[in-house]
């Protein structure tokens, strides 16, 4: 099975009458359990590609299959359900709910899956234990370091047992030591649980820890090294 299958993927934006082609025809296949890094300079279209893969956005043209399903056949509701079931997100700026405890932040994806509160909290607790934050359950984001916040975000990405975790510059806001720790967690997630990881970064050291490097430039895949 393949996690993602993209053919001729384009995405253009209309900006004050000017068309910006962020992606100009991307062919890409990412298999189950892969660990791939998407590299490229700023503005090359990495985030745009990740948003398409994560079903947060729809391509302007081309075909994208996620878990074998052509996303153009799904309406917005089904797309939301697909995200909820299959994909975990990790963002550069963490994106945690500010006034909500770590536990409830992690449990949030399960709310939209209709999981009952007690089970939700039990699963969120296990996910937080898995990222080494068993002692931070009731802490709010503002009471935690950046590294801890990103680990909460990783716990939130894995609480729903996704097939893929998409991470957009997950170490971008962290120092080397915390970045190292986050990378370690993602690697373990990949090797221990077989979750496919797609990591966006512009740091070669980070990219080199993936087993595959996909280089993007000007909206096209320039090189794909396994």
């Amino acid at each position: 099975m393949t996690a993602f299958e993209a053919a001729g993927l384009t995405r253009s934006y209309q900006l004050e009458g000017v068309t910006v082609d962020a992606l100009r025809g991307v062919d890409l296949t990412i298999g189950d359990g892969e660990f791939a890094a998407i590299l490229g300079p700023s503005g090359s279209g990495k985030s745009t590609l990740m948003h398409l893969l994560g079903c947060l956005d729809r391509p302007t043209s081309g075909v994208l299959k996620v878990g074998g399903v052509d996303v153009s056949t799904l309406d917005d509701t089904r797309l939301a359900e697909l995200r909820n079931q299959m994909i975990g997100f990790v963002f550069q700026s963490f994106h945690l709910l500010a006034r909500t405890s770590a536990l409830d932040n992690v449990a949030l994806p399960l709310v939209y899956r209709g999981v009952a509160k007690t089970e939700r909290r039990a699963r969120a607790r296990r996910a937080l234990e898995a990222v080494g934050l068993a002692h931070r359950l009731d802490h709010r984001p503002s009471q935690m370091s950046g590294g801890e916040q990103q680990r909460v975000a990783i716990a939130r990405a894995l609480v729903g047992d996704p097939q893929v975790v998409l991470a957009d510059e997950p170490t971008g806001n962290l120092d080397t030591r915390n970045g190292e720790e986050v990378m370690g967690l993602l690697e373990r997630l990949n090797t221990d649980q077989g979750v496919a990881i797609v990591l966006v970064t512009h740091e070669p050291e980070v990219a080199n820890r993936a087993r595959r490097q996909i280089h993007v430039r000007d909206g096209l895949i320039e090189r794909d090294v396994a």
Binding site: T77, A80, S93, V111, G160
Partner: protein
């Protein structure tokens, strides 16, 4: 997502923004409490006046000369005691008919003096009007027939002239003529500005001689039941018109008064409630405004929720429930303040206030509807936010 979950989430959002939520609710709180208080005052006034009218007695018909016209001065009466006897025969039961001749006169006891309404009437007044006796006796048929100079005092007159003394058996000078007090009425209060406790009742025959008149001012009839009031009034008016073809006579019934006043005050209450309702609407606009600000402010949160699997309807529901909670919590506080305010007004001022269940239910229902109505637009905007745009917003 379950509904209970959506409520919990919305409550949490309101709790987090406590001050803003409170300020947003303020408009609704003021609107709802205004509705409750104004309706309470309107209803209270209506109840009080209806009580006053019913307190006169039951099934009363007043027969007066002339056409009933509130703008014109009353016509000169041409009715005399012979006409009263004629009306007694028309009614059939003489004890249900009483009469009045009125004049403002001085009354003096020793050094104490008072200006009172002297009412010449007869022994039947107690059968028509609610006029309980505190001491002594009522006027009797013999008092009327023999033109006795006896008087029954209103409670205030008695107090003013005799203080704590029992006036029964004592003398009083009315318009310079010596009278003997035979009774004192219970306090009954004012009706339509007529201070009934400041009246002094003497036999109608004595009054006519004292005032030098042959006329009577009006005839009052106590009908045997509410269903015969209108027909009896008409029968008496017809009989009098038959006797005096050139004159006009009118019958005023208690039901007519109650009906007219009830309608007027009901309309007044409605208008007050509508004015208060407008302020509730303004409160709703405030809710809409703040919800739009809130949606804009929480763009990133909305994007994140969508990324994690929130459907359009989940986000829409969350914001709609927030709006409805704002207005219904505001509405509940407004109802509490309105009820409290009404009770306070009732105890601290002479304005009567009567809280009605319908106004409370209506206020609550309207707040909920206002929440849905004014919450829909911001909630739809939130539901339709593009997750990518929302996530990129920094």
């Amino acid at each position: 997502m379950r509904t209970a979950e959506a409520f919990r989430m919305a409550l949490e959002a309101l709790r987090v923004n406590r001050l803003r939520s409170a300020l947003t609710m303020l408009g609704v709180i003021i609107g709802v409490s205004a509705v409750v208080i104004l309706v309470a005052i309107g209803t209270g006034a209506k109840d009080a006046i209806e009580d006053e009218i019913s307190g006169l007695g039951s099934n009363i018909i007043l027969v007066v000369p002339g056409q009933l016209n509130f703008q014109a001065a009353p016509t000169q009466s041409r009715l005399d005691l012979g006409d009263v006897n004629y009306v007694r025969r028309v009614v059939g039961d003489p004890s249900r008919v009483t009469v009045s001749v009125q004049s403002g006169e001085n009354i003096r006891v020793g050094r104490n003096e008072a200006f009172v309404t002297v009412v010449g009437t007869d022994e039947n007044i107690r059968n028509v009007f609610e006029r309980p006796l505190k001491r002594g006796r009522y006027l009797t048929e013999t008092d009327i027939d023999t033109r006795r100079r006896v008087a029954v005092l209103g409670s205030e007159v008695s107090e003013q002239l005799f203080g704590d003394l029992d006036p029964v058996g004592r003398q009083a000078m009315i318009a310079g003529v010596r009278f003997r007090v035979v009774g004192v009425y219970e306090k009954v209060g004012a009706t339509f500005g007529v201070a009934r406790d400041r009246e002094t009742h003497i036999p109608v025959t004595t009054a006519q001689r004292l005032l030098g008149v042959e006329r009577v001012n009006g005839i009052a009839i106590g009908a045997s039941g509410p269903d015969v009031i209108d027909s009896l009034g008409q029968r008496v008016v017809d009989a009098l018109t038959a006797r005096y073809p050139d004159e006009k006579f009118s019958a005023v019934t208690q039901t007519q008064l109650l009906g007219t006043i009830g309608t007027v005050l009901g309309m007044l209450t409605g208008v007050l409630a509508a004015i208060a309702g407008i302020s509730l609407l303004v409160g709703g606009v405030g809710v809409s405004n703040i919800m739009l600000v809130s949606v804009r402010e929480r763009t990133k949160e909305i994007g994140l929720r969508k990324a994690l699997g929130a459907r359009q309807r989940d986000v829409l529901g969350q914001f709609l429930i927030e709006a409805v909670l704002l207005t219904t919590i505001g509405g509940t506080i407004g109802i509490a303040l309105g009820v409290g305010g009404s009770l306070l007004i009732e105890t601290l001022s002479p304005v009567p206030a009567s809280i009605t269940l319908w106004s409370i239910l209506l206020a609550f229902g309207v707040s909920a509807v206002v929440g849905v109505f004014f919450g829909v637009a911001p909630a739809r905007r939130a539901g339709r936010l593009d997750p990518v745009v929302a996530l990129r917003a920094e």
